[in-house]
Amino acid sequence: MFSKILICNRGEIALRIIRTCRDMGIKTVQAYSKADADSRPVELADEAILIGPAPAARSYLHIPSIVHACRMTGAEAVHPGYGFLSQDTYFAEICKDSGITFIGPSPSVMEMMGDKSSARKLMGNAGLPVPGGSAPLVNYDEARAEAAKVGYPVMLKASAGGGGRGMQVVWRADELASALERVRNTAQSVFKDDRVYLEKFIRQARHVEVQVLGDRHGNVVYLGERDCSIQRRQQKLIEESPSTYIDAGLRRRMGEAAVAGAKAIGYESAGTIEFLVDPDRNFYFIEMNTRIQVEHPVTEATTGLDLIELMIRVAAGEPLPLTQDDIKPRGHAIECRINAEDPAGNWAAASGTLTRFIPPGGPRVRVDSHGYSGYTVPPYYDSLLAKVIVHGKDREEAMTLMQRALYEFACEGIKTTIPFHRRLLAHPAFRSGDYHLDFIDKYMQPDGTLVVAGEVAAEAGSAGVRSR
C-alpha cells in the first residue's frame, strides 16, 4: 500500500481524497496553486506544495510541476480527482515512466475511451447497444449519406470531445452543412482535433449511468446506476439512485452490459459507463468516463462503499474485496450540486467571500464541501462549492431529507444555486420522477425560476441536451 499520495486537484474533491487517505493511514501531499493557499485541502493535508500561480495551465494542469512535486515529496502515487489531468493520457504515461502510480486506468485504456468515436466502436464490438451512427465523417457528402441512413434528428459529435462539449443536434437535412462546420470548428479550437462523427439523436431520453469498478486481476463489478437527466447545458444539476425510469430487469441488463464493456477493454479502477434510455426502454452506450465522478457519493450512499478507498486499493494492486453478489444497493439517494452561480443572473459564476457558511447535517445527510465561513471563492476555477447528498429508505424520504437539508443550509456572501435547488425539489415533474433531459429547457425561466405546467417550451428546435 502507498505510504504517500499526492493530490493534484483542488476544492471538494481534493478534500474528499485527503479524508480517505487519512482514514487509511496514508500520508497526503496537496499540490496547490497560489489561489488556493487558504483552502481546506491545503490546511488538512499532511504536506502542501505550492506548484504555480492561479491559472490552471500553470498549476493544476502543469505536468512538470506536478511530477516534480511528487519527486520532491516522495509521493508514490497521484490521485487526479476529476477534470484537470484525470483523463489526460499524456500525464498518465509520464507518471508511469516516472515510477509514479497514477490512480486510475492505464494510459492505453484512457486513450481508447477518450476518443469517443473509437469508444463507441469498441463498446459496440463488446456487445453494448449503441445508437445508429457513423465513424468519423470525412466530408459533407458522407455526413449527408450517413444522416439519411440513420434518420433525423441526428447529433454531430466531436471525437475528441466529451463532457457534453463539442456536440450539436441537427433536426433537418438543410441544417446539416452549417452544423457540421460549426462542430468541426469547435472541435478544432477546443480539442485540437476536428474529427466529427454522427449519431441518432434519441428524443425524450434519460441519462442513466452505471458505476463500475475493476481491478488489475480482471475482476469488474457494477455498483448500480445514477440518473442524471436534469442538466443545464450538459452540466448535471442533480443526481439520484436508483433511477425511477428502469426496472430491476433493465437495471441488471445495463449493469451486466457495463461490466462486459469494462472487461472488454481491461478496465481497472473506478469508471462510469453512460447510457441513454429511450421511452421504449432501449438503452444505448454513449461514452465512458475513466475517472471518479462528481456524483460518486450517490453510489457510496446506496452501496455503503468508499469508492476513493477502492480506487487506491486497486491502484496498489489489490484484488477487489467484493463480488457482484456482495453488492446490494439499498434505499434511495439524491445529490444536489451547489454551485457558486447566480441563476437569476444568467448563471454567472460568483466569486467572493462566504460570510456565513453553515452546511446541513443529521444522520442521513452528507455534505462534501471545501467551503467555510470566511472562505474566499477564487474566480479561476469551476464553481462547484458543495454537494449535498441524502439517503432515505425510499424516494419519498430522500426528497423530504433533501428539502430539510436545503432549508437548513445557510450560505451568505455570494450567490449560490441553493434557492434554485429548493425550487427544483418542489417541482412536480421532479417529485413524480417523470422528467427527461429536456427538463431545464422545458421548465426553466431566464431568471432561474421554474414554471409548473402551462407554458412549456416547444420541443422542436431545443438545443441538444446531453450529459456530462
Binding site: K34, L50, G52, P64, S65, V67, H68, G99
Partner: protein
C-alpha cells in the same frame, strides 16, 4: 529515468528527497514494529535538536537506517527579519528576492562542476542569469529582475524548490553607483 520508491523513512523537516535503492531493498526486510520504534526515536531526536546547529542525524537499527537532514537554526543575526515576502538587511535596507518561477530543482551553475552563475557579493544587472530551475529535464533560466548586490543565496545547489520560493536576495540600494 524512473525511480521506484517504496517509501522512505524521513521526518517532515527534511528538504532533500534522494533515491537510495540499496536502502529501499534493505527496508523491505524489516517488520512494522521495528520501523515504528525507529521512527519514534528519530522524531524525538529531531525535536531535541531544534535550535541547535546540527544538520544531519542518522539512526540505525538492524537493517534500517534513517537519515534526517535539517535546516540549522538561523544564527541570531541582528535586523534580519524572515518576513514572508520581504527581507531586510542589517541596516534596514529592503532586499529584493529572486523567486523560483516554477517547481523544480535549483542549480547554481550551468553544469556540474562549472563555476556558479553568481556568488554572494557579486553585482548583478537586470536580466542577468543567476541560476537554473530544472523540471523534467527542461532547464529554465533564472534571471535577476534587479540591479544590485547578491547578499544571500537561500537554496543550495541541487535542492528542490516550490513555486515562488525565494532563491536569493539582492540589495538594490548598495552595489555600484550610477
Amino acid at each position: 529515468m524512473p525511480r521506484r520508491r517504496a517509501g522512505s523513512a524521513r521526518a517532515e523537516e527534511s528538504a532533500t528527497l534522494p533515491a537510495n535503492e540499496e536502502r529501499d531493498e534493505r527496508r523491505k526486510e524489516l517488520d512494522a514494529s521495528a520501523v515504528q520504534r525507529v521512527f519514534k526515536e528519530m522524531k524525538d531526536l529531531v525535536r531535541s535538536l531544534e535550535g541547535t546547529a546540527t544538520t544531519r542525524v542518522s539512526v540505525r537499527a538492524g537493517a534500517l537506517e534513517v537519515e534526517v537532514e535539517r535546516q540549522p537554526a538561523a544564527p541570531p543575526a541582528a535586523g534580519v527579519a524572515p518576513a514572508r515576502t520581504e527581507s531586510v538587511s542589517a541596516d534596514g535596507v529592503p532586499l529584493m528576492p529572486v523567486l523560483a518561477p516554477l517547481v523544480g530543482t535549483f542549480y547554481r551553475a550551468s553544469s556540474p562542476g562549472a563555476k556558479p552563475f553568481v556568488e554572494v557579493g557579486d553585482t548583478v544587472e537586470p536580466g542577468q542569469q543567476v541560476g537554473i530551475v530544472e523540471a523534467m529535464k527542461v532547464m529554465n533560466e533564472i534571471t535577476s529582475a534587479y540591479r544590485g548586490v547578491v547578499t544571500e543565496i537561500l537554496v543550495g545547489n541541487g535542492e528542490p524548490v516550490q513555486y515562488e520560493q525565494r532563491l536569493m536576495l539582492i540589495d538594490t540600494q548598495g552595489g555600484r553607483s550610477e
